[in-house]
Assembly symmetry: C2
Homo-oligomer: 107 residues x 2
Amino acid sequence: MAGSPSYKERKVITIGVVSELTGLSERQIRYYEERKLIFPERSPKGNRKYSFLDVEQLMDIANKREEGVQTYEIRQEMLRKERKEAKLNRKELLRGEINARFGIQRE
Amino acid sequence: MAGSPSYKERKVITIGVVSELTGLSERQIRYYEERKLIFPERSPKGNRKYSFLDVEQLMDIANKREEGVQTYEIRQEMLRKERKEAKLNRKELLRGEINARFGIQRE
DNA sequence: CGTGTAAGGAATTCTGACACG
DNA sequence: CGTGTAAGGAATTCTGACACG
């Protein structure tokens, strides 16, 4: 259930459509990739493909940019969140291992 | 909740990607549109755009075609299902109207 | 730093048509 | 009927660069 192939995550949208959807220029979208804020996949011949999640993230980025936040700051914030999530994941993993070894005690 | 703008229904996928996703040729995909089995939207400049739902429907169509079902048959089946659903919708609508006028009787 | 733009080429998509069957 | 293909043109996308600031 956590790893289901959701429509939201499938990378299938071309840059032109992403531009329509977000109101950002293709130049901006490519630049945010260069700054490692967004990670499209590539089609066999090299065309960028984005997911709906990417589109949402781009809209968040656009909002922050309008508030004057620099791409570098946005990047740092992203990394902080990732580390926090990784921490939570390790915690859950540990809990799972403990359960696997000692079983569920109650009942 | 029935009319939420789901990712599954948003028409954002170009024909090339749909071709990759379904394994169908672009020729086939355009032909099924001509036969009224599929209804892409168009971008401002006329490029077809499909949804994930369209992609799934195309895979269903592909399966039926492999079984030898003709596009005309597939079309008829589609229309039958649509009429059936329209009937159910009218039924629910009626139920709603009755409730609105007479209220929920129990309690 | 963030974005626009012109440049040149390659890949995409579109339509209408001919072909085969 | 269903699909392939060649045709010609228009729109898309890509990269690297110059510009401004």
